[in-house]
């Protein structure tokens, strides 16, 4: 551990500039989508008065949830004092800030009145979990920013543990707040469940670590640095635990719903009759997002392949997007019951499953947010000394 030297990446190569160019292209596309949606209004999107939140919110909430999870690696090092993770901590903090920035950008640019950002931060209704989230998100930038400072500057290093602990507690509260956006909604069958908050926390562990693994592997491979199996094995095993835990929470949520007759309708919709939603759930969230990654991570042969571990991480990310799609779009598509025992019909889609087809604008905006996150973390690697020169087994795990 003593010999670890952190360096920034050179960042002058054609490949590096090309990478920034790709991110820039997606950011421009996202900005164009934002300008178009802002100019025309939301009628050009797939979002309606029935499916109120759409693909931008799937992306935004995914990135925000993943942001707090990406901080886990740093928390394990600073809060739980596991020295193995210390060389990995700086990237973890930067990645969490980058993901939050990307997610918030999507969320804010989808607002009906994005020009009123100043209103959003000057008028507070403290009974609103949304208002609390605005404080939690801005606070996260401040606290994780200070935590990062204690990791980068040896003069303030003595405060690292305190800052790391504060960041860890803050991120748990933050994801509780994100999950509670749905947990506190009494109106809809799919929401109004206390399990939403802890489920979002465990989802964040899984999504955040999957992104972290990919960024770490890409960062080392593309800069020609050595990344040993010790680091990869430890992180992929940890990811496996988080995937399993996410699966458990999802199972607990659906089993609880299945027990109560009043929720049979929404469960039948999500699990059997929901078309795209049902496919997203079984093929996206469960098979691609959980079972296959678990097999890759824990089966002896594929778990030794970096390519397979990358695939597992990508699948966790896609499965995560699918799971949020099921929660968000599925929860809104299913009709609310006005009077129990009665079927409702109206000109306003009462009693029917509401259709939602995401528009290209929403996809462009969402991808713009992803690109913002990636450009921040890529550029941060150039300007800060985030990564150890080498994470070979002899350096990362010298006891072996």
């Amino acid at each position: 551990m003593k010999n670890i030297r952190y360096t920034s990446i050179e960042g002058n190569s054609v490949k590096f500039l090309a990478l920034l160019g790709v991110y820039g292209f997606f950011i421009l596309l996202g900005f164009y989508a934002f300008i178009t949606m802002e100019h025309e209004g939301h009628w050009i999107t797939g979002m309606t008065n029935q499916v109120i939140w759409g693909l931008p919110h799937v992306f935004a909430i995914f990135l925000i949830v993943a942001a707090s999870g990406a901080l886990n690696v740093a928390s394990i090092a600073s809060v739980f004092n596991k020295s193995f993770y210390k060389p990995l901590a700086k990237l973890s903090a930067v990645l969490s800030l980058a993901l939050l920035a990307g997610g918030l950008a999507v969320l804010l640019l989808d607002l009906g009145r994005p020009d009123r950002l100043i209103v959003a931060i000057t008028y507070y209704n403290f009974k609103s979990i949304f208002a609390w989230n605005i404080i939690l998100y801005t606070g996260f930038f401040g606290i994780v920013g200070i935590y990062l400072w204690t990791m980068l500057d040896w003069q303030v290093e003595k405060y690292k543990r305190i800052a790391g602990t504060a960041a860890f507690i803050w991120r748990l509260i933050l994801t509780t707040g994100t999950g509670s956006i749905f947990g506190f909604l009494v109106s809809r069958q799919a929401y109004d469940a206390a399990i939403m908050a802890p489920m979002f926390i465990i989802m964040s562990f899984s999504f955040g670590l999957a992104i972290y693994l990919l960024v770490l592997m890409a960062g080392y491979k593309w800069t020609g640095r050595e990344l040993g199996d010790a680091v990869i094995n430890k992180l992929k095993n940890l990811m496996g635990v988080f995937i399993a835990a996410t699966l458990y929470f999802s199972m607990a949520y659906h089993l609880t719903n299945l027990y109560a007759t009043e929720h049979h309708g929404i469960e039948a919709f999500v699990l059997m009759e929901g078309g795209v939603i049902t496919n997203m759930f079984w093929y996206g969230q469960i098979i691609l997002g959980a079972i296959i990654p678990l097999l890759i991570v824990y089966c002896p042969r594929p778990s030794k392949s970096r390519t397979m571990i990358s695939i597992a991480s990508i699948l966790v990310i896609l499965g995560g997007l699918a799971s949020l799609y099921v929660i968000l779009i599925g929860g809104q598509s299913y009709p609310m019951t006005l009077v129990p025992g009665y079927e409702a019909t109206s000109t306003f889609a009462d009693g029917v499953i509401s259709e939602y087809s995401p528009s290209i604008w929403e996809f462009m905006l969402g991808m713009g947010g992803v690109a913002i996150s990636l450009v921040i973390v890529t550029f941060a690697m150039k300007i800060f000394r985030l990564l150890p020169d080498s994470l070979s087994d002899s350096i990362a795990a010298p006891q072996k």
Binding site: L111, Y124, N125, S128, M336, Y342, D350
Partner: protein, 254 residues
Amino acid sequence: MSPKNTKPEMNETNKIDQYRRKLLGGSAAAVAGLTLAPGLILNTVQAKSADQAVSNKNRWGLLIDTKRCADGCTDCVTACNTEHGLREIHGPATDAQWIRNVTLKNKSTGHTVNMPVMCQHCENPPCVDVCPTGASFKRDDGIVLVDKHICIGCRYCMMACPYKARNFIHEVLTDQLPVAPRGKGTVESCTLCVHKVDNGDGTTACADACKHGAITFGDLNDKNSLISKKLEISGGRELRAELGLNTGVRYQGL
């Protein structure tokens, strides 16, 4: 929309009020002699001037008699649209509908009920609870409104409303009516014809338009009002009463 926002118009409205007082005063004897509908008299008495703050002495509400609500009739919807300048623009998925006709059919008996559904003006409105900026608010007299000046268009209130009563403005609007300030990117819903309530009209566009007498507007806090008497005699249910929101709109015949 909020009481504070009506202040700039106070002088002009005061003149109108003075004019109305003179008119009412001059014809007081004649009015007293006429046998008008009890609800109308009571509501006229309760009319407040523009400089008078909204008070929780009143709790405005609607009573819907579903037995009188005729199959296929859309008079209340048309009246609401005309009153507030709501038009067809890009189709039913994104167009604003402040009030809609819902047909309910009992799954086992086949019993069918028609009823209009609009903002239920809850005493404990979930939309107000979740609004991050406080743009969703409830007046002291129970009317739930959106302050269009501080609505950021996040639509969390629409997610929270148990009645799907809220609409997002999906496009640029032109030629809005003075009584219904509306604009792209903000959320809106039935205002319980707040402009009429504040003018002391004692009715709403939907109640006024219903030729079947299925909609009664009135003060739920006034035991002598027509709505309270009807509720006392025949009762009235809340939609999704299990949520405990104490709605200002009640339904009979469900």
